[in-house]
Amino acid sequence: MAKIIIYPPTSLILADLVERMGHKSLVAPEAVRDRVTNPEIKSPPLNITPEDPKKGLKYAAVDVPSGVRGRMALIGPLIEEADAGIVLNDPGILTGCAGCNRTNELVRLLIKTKGIPVLDLIYPQDEAEARKFVARIKAFLEGLK
């Protein structure tokens, strides 16, 4: 079982397909859960502590907006943990989930420069494309076993 970083990190379709095919998907809600369900809430409401933007500094310079560093504090460690990645390139849908296009660009860059196997895809628009989409993900994940 490999750890797969998916982009967008909140994608329902990718998270489901990865788990369905027997691998572990590294997703943003997991990182969020660690913070918001921690009984020791040090920094309400979301428990983002001053340490988090410092962690983000590892991925983005100090002159980059603090929101990027804050988001990278959640997503960055997931990228470090990953054995492989699946990236969806479709600007129409992607700015919403992570809420920041600069973070999205940085996440894509980090996944692609990490030196792990990466599958690049776009969202399918019709049935034939959807079949190819699922078949490519299946072949990619089977190749990792």
Binding site: P8, T10, S11, L12, I13, A15, D16, L17, E19, R20, V27, A28, P29, E30, A31, V32, R33, R35, V36, T37, P45, L46, I93, G96, C97, G99, Y123, P124, D126, E127, E129, A130, R131, F133, V134, A135, K138
Partner: protein, 144 residues
């Protein structure tokens, strides 16, 4: 550790969120269930949720999609009832992806047909007619 998951049904699936909720209530597991317009949210201990996810997937293997959620159901930091209405953050991603779920469901179904699982392969092999050569040998053995 308690975890939360979204269970989202494809718009074309014949399984309703209420069917899934009833199944969970019937299983008598210690799981919190919240029904929503697009599916259900479940919350429980990690091992229990993992078992339940397998059961739920079996209800409609190609029509039910599951993903993690960070916040527990009804959390005041996310619950729109307590934030004065409006869609909660993250809903837009589910909305945009749920439009594609019928396509993915059909693709998964055709993928399953193209490469049947081990059980199906065994059945096909068992049901395959014997070769003419083998039949000829059996006939000769029986006659002699």
């Amino acid at each position: 550790m308690r975890i939360t998951k979204y269970i989202i049904t494809s718009p074309e699936s014949e399984t309703l969120p209420s069917d899934i909720a009833m199944r969970i209530y019937g299983s008598k597991r210690n799981i919190n269930v919240k029904e929503t317009c697009f599916g259900i949210i479940i919350n429980g201990e990690e091992e229990e949720v993992a078992d339940l996810v397998k059961e739920i997937r079996a209800m409609d293997p190609t029509g039910i999609f599951i993903k993690d959620r960070g916040f527990p159901p009804g959390d005041p930091r996310r619950c729109r009832g307590r934030r004065g209405g409006g869609a909660r953050p993250g809903y837009y991603m589910i909305e945009s992806e749920s439009k594609l779920l019928p396509l993915i469901s059909r693709a998964l179904a055709s993928e399953e047909k193209a490469s049947p699982g081990p059980k199906d392969t065994e059945t096909i092999l068992k049901k395959r007619p014997i070769s003419i050569k083998k039949l000829d040998e059996i006939v000769k053995e029986e006659i002699s």
